[in-house]
Symmetry: C2
Subunit: 469 residues, 2 copies
Amino acid sequence: MISLTPVLHEESATPLYQQLFVYIRDAILRSDILPGEKLPSLRSLSKSLNISITTVELAYNQLLVEGYISSRPRSGYFVSEISPGSERDLLTPVSPGLDPRSASPYSLPEIYRNNQIYVDSECFDFARWKKCSNKILTDYSSLLLVEGDIQGEAPLRDEISRYIYQARGVRCNRDQVVIAAGTQQLINLLCIILQRMGIDHASFENPGYLPVRNIFKDRNFKMTLVPIDRDGIQIDKLPANIPTTVYVSPSNQFPTGSIMPVGRRYALLDWAYRNRSIIIEDDYNSELRYDSRPVPSLQGLDTGERVVYLGSFSSTLFPSIKISYMVLPKPLLKLFRESLSGYTQTCSKAEQLTLALYMSSGFYQTNLRRQRKLNAQKIQMATAALNRYGKDVVEIINNSSGLHMLLKIANKGKTTEEICAAVAESGLTLAPVSNFEIDGSYSVVMFYYTRIPIENMDEAIQRLLQILQ
Amino acid sequence: MISLTPVLHEESATPLYQQLFVYIRDAILRSDILPGEKLPSLRSLSKSLNISITTVELAYNQLLVEGYISSRPRSGYFVSEISPGSERDLLTPVSPGLDPRSASPYSLPEIYRNNQIYVDSECFDFARWKKCSNKILTDYSSLLLVEGDIQGEAPLRDEISRYIYQARGVRCNRDQVVIAAGTQQLINLLCIILQRMGIDHASFENPGYLPVRNIFKDRNFKMTLVPIDRDGIQIDKLPANIPTTVYVSPSNQFPTGSIMPVGRRYALLDWAYRNRSIIIEDDYNSELRYDSRPVPSLQGLDTGERVVYLGSFSSTLFPSIKISYMVLPKPLLKLFRESLSGYTQTCSKAEQLTLALYMSSGFYQTNLRRQRKLNAQKIQMATAALNRYGKDVVEIINNSSGLHMLLKIANKGKTTEEICAAVAESGLTLAPVSNFEIDGSYSVVMFYYTRIPIENMDEAIQRLLQILQ
């Protein structure tokens, strides 16, 4: 019988049983006690160390649970066979190498860089949002103790279906609405449904929205890039006679902001009916047009259950919120329920319910009107300032929709990426439009003017032009 | 030249220009005006209808934008060619068929069923969570106006890396932590990385956690189910000589709750080193053990950068929150950054920052202790009640970990699904454990006792047993 002689510290913050556990474990790992050896009985060790039987029992229990020892009925506890491993790792934990923090309660450490970035607190009314959020965390908190609905919370789906009917002419009931944390998540689910339908080919507007293309690529779809003209995607360049899906943004083409006229819309639907294809209509930012009333959706024109409608709240609430939705035609809804019952909802239930309350209280519509007006004013100011100071450096291609203006800028020997990086340093955001072929001396870029407070607009444009000069 | 004779209502809520737009659009759709026909000039229509030129201009502009007409420089406006489509749909919008709501401000419609479901409001302290959430929505709201970090917010990754080192022996810095909205999202990203590494085969514990398997299946991985014994996955049944990934839950096997002893852990690591395979360690619920101290993680034993560590907050905060994380070994982190830069973060930035504050304020640890104690009390009560009233109907297989107890119940001629459905009617939750082979007359089920308030436990168990009798 081996003897154990740990030095235990009664006054330590570490409980006695844990000190004993660590002592025996390390002895086993150092091979001071060998596999097969028998440990002292509970009673005898308790007596020899002058500690309670419970303390010894807890320590042995932990050794048992972690597999260092085993117990044989009516004969006692024995050391287990353990692979010679990297025992040093167990004994001398390496510090994960974090700096000690000077965290005060209720404050975040200051580890955000880019703090000179322009941010306009007028963009969103957080006071009303907070009111709704508090209502959920107080009166509806018991709902949060149950997992969310796979399709999204019913009250929010209800609000969405009512809103998109009234604002965008989309026809659906709440059962057809699927909510997820971002457009990419929706596309991800859609890819699975499409593959189950036997569709493994997808077409895209070129130029178009890359984050969606990535998902299809990683799902191994065959892909076709279809050129756009000023009316949107060119129907005669779409593949014929194969079932495919086409991803379009007809009411606010990304990044050009162009609108697909109603004639082209019917032609696209006809093409989908003939080829038994699915149209994915991304209606992203369509509420944010400043030149005219928003154009009704393609989904509202569809009579053949061929259009999947996509919408998002990240540009009409605040950019970091991750709530997007899609409306599935009934045949796809059936497939969704059959194929995706094993998937869990990605969107925060608390935020979904907060948004449902925010919408049903009328705050969403009020905020949208305010935001549209504010953006229109900013666009007007930015346009005037660009024309005043930068006529020879910048040409405005589109300034009537969304959260960015489309600019054509002179490269002056630099690459687009170099220019965008230099602009980012100044706290402004300029993003390159890839696949937009212009001869080498010019670039087309998106200028995110909405982040600039209106009172800084003139100064910000001057700063931008200084860099572009 | 065609003549237009709309009846416009000055006093209507619909603006004049929009009334004019609808009138002309419908005339085009009814073919009252034909493609190629010229519309009156702005000035002449303004004169004939006695409205301002601006009103006519706005209406024409909307017709232009939506593609019903086109303009030719210096000759005027002409009706476009439109495919004969389902024009009826445009003219007579179908109601989406929603019931009128009796929504009062700040309240959600009562469309939740299952309201007799047991919910224990003691499970989570929403008051403190709300405090942190308000702090973010007030003092840090400007951060929410900028899109989230692809990997997750730095302050939260910082808190997580500190917490899992201290509680679970996981060694990492915040750069290795990736946050996403749920384990399935993390697995989804991981699948893409694994495929880029040339790994297209995955092994799983059987029985095991199905929602993860689904993701691999939908990503077209070849799959092997590996039987478990009481120490966890059987190493000698794992595939040899092919690069594969194995998904395990060593500290709290799902659904059995068994713990992999340290010997088996080293053997599993050795297997991974030999086969150049990746181990995915799902440490789900490992903090919620009631019989012993939590067992240190497999990741902490790994010296070969072969273990991906997964954790989640849905069982230690509240079930509907969607914040999970993984720790990537450095080679995989490199691949993540190269392959997944096109992916956006799925997790709400506001909730990530709220959680960072909740953790740095010490509330997380306090809540965890409280919750562990509460669950231990509930388990004790439930165990006593099951033994008192149901010894002949129910056998407890595991009651020492997680959010469920594992029970063996007599089927009495019913299927497991029928039994679970009957139990659900009473507000209790019993979930079948699939792939758990027992002869036809018994089932193994998970009993979610944590949702039952402690004062209802005895009554709830009696209700359960009545159904099982």
